[in-house]
């Protein structure tokens, strides 16, 4: 499980390595990386993509896709808890392997380079994980008040994220009340009243905001705002309002770019 807030420190604890525990490692350090369950092998023709069928995505590729989607989407997308847990686990295992090999003074130059590469990758993946979590956190704080009143959006958050949203909403509410609202007439002292001709004060995701879309497969026909329809072939790229592609995005048929 990961937490919306404090995930970085949480993750850091996990990554701190085996110094405080004594894992039983195999004696031959040679094969230590090979003992780590590997991600599915990547087909060499990944860039060519000869098949119409989708090639299997590694967990990291999945997270990268979800990270970029989250960065570009105006709304909060469904949390990828299992995927993140899986990658955090993998990160921890790789870091432990690195720590262990580092402690071995007899390792060769070749081994040093291997360690350096594994370490570099760990940092790269950690960057994506952090940026992903922080992007969600930014949206959660921004829409906190809306989240507390909307049941649908709550289904897309993890328990920790929901908790954070309600605490954030409560704190800001209290702050606004104590600093300004309590001094106003009763009629104007609420954040969620809807006077005529005044934009609402509760920030909601703007689903009409356009996004750049890339079709990952042939998509079912969609209806565009001007009334025409569009059937996106695989590889098709478009700019269109988020609300039009929301369902396709949730089904993983398109990605945002």
């Amino acid at each position: 499980m990961y937490r919306g807030r404090g995930s970085t420190s949480n993750e850091r604890d996990q990554l701190a390595g085996p110094s405080n525990q004594a894992p039983s490692w195999p004696d031959d350090d040679e094969d230590i990386f090979n003992d780590v369950p590997m991600a599915p092998a990547i087909p060499d023709n990944r860039e060519l993509n000869l098949f119409e069928e989708e090639t299997t995505e590694t967990p990291l590729e999945k997270l990268t896709r979800h990270w970029l989607n989250e960065r570009f989407a105006p709304d909060i997308l469904p949390a990828q808890e299992a995927l993140l847990t899986n990658l955090l686990d993998h990160l921890r295992r790789q870091s432990e392997a690195v720590q262990l090999l580092r402690g071995d003074p007899s390792s060769s130059e070749e081994e040093h380079i291997r360690i350096m590469l594994v370490q570099t990758e760990v940092e790269r993946v950690k960057f994506v994980v952090r940026s992903y979590v922080r992007t969600r956190l930014f949206k959660i704080e921004r829409y906190a008040r809306f989240i507390t009143t909307n049941a649908e959006i709550q289904t897309r958050l993890t328990a920790a994220e929901r908790d954070h949203a309600s605490r954030h909403a409560k704190l800001t509410d209290q702050h606004f009340y104590l600093s300004v609202l309590q001094g106003l007439p009763e009629k104007q002292s609420h954040l969620d009243d809807t006077p005529l001709f005044v934009p609402p004060m509760v920030t909601e995701p703007d689903k009409s905001r356009p996004v750049f879309v890339h079709a990952l497969k042939r998509c079912p026909r969609i209806r565009l705002p001007d009334g025409s329809t569009l059937e996106m072939e695989k590889g098709h790229m478009s700019l269109m309002p988020y609300s039009i592609v929301e369902q396709l995005l949730l089904r993983g048929e398109v990605e945002l770019i």
Partner: protein, 188 residues
Amino acid sequence: MALPQTLRASVTPPELELVASQQLIEIIPMISMEKTAFISGAYGPLRPPNKAKIPLWMAVNLKMKKKCHIVAPDWLTADYLQERLNLETTDLSFSSLPFRFAEIAKVILDVASDDVENPDKIRSLLKDLREARQAKSREGLRTLDHSELTLSNLSSMEINEIRPYFIQSMSIMTQLVRNPAPDPLGHP
């Protein structure tokens, strides 16, 4: 802890570079290495002088330690880019290039220009290509409406570049359509 202000509107070129660096590239290793399991997959074994395919970030790392040569992709040659540039300047549509060509070309030219034939020529061709394509994408703003805009063959860096004002323009058009001004002549 939330995402910093500067990153909220869009992704940055270094982030796109990070994504692009995950793509595989061919290298000629100068060290040997056993097959190793990474988070993104298993790479190796490296056996000089046999070519191997590894992610670009790994190749860059090894290259900076002078432990490999990077084999430039087919499209990163003066001839190929010249041909694209000719197409680009004669045809109205965008010529097809790899989606992340700008990032990959930059990374390779930065760290491994000695592994590329004629790097200066390639740099100037890339610059010309960029300018030709940029002119076209600005032209594309003319055809923008509130509904949809198809962008064929645009690369990730180019999309990122046009993102702010294309999104802004389209949002404004959406608002205009949603709240049409009252017809001054009172026609329905």
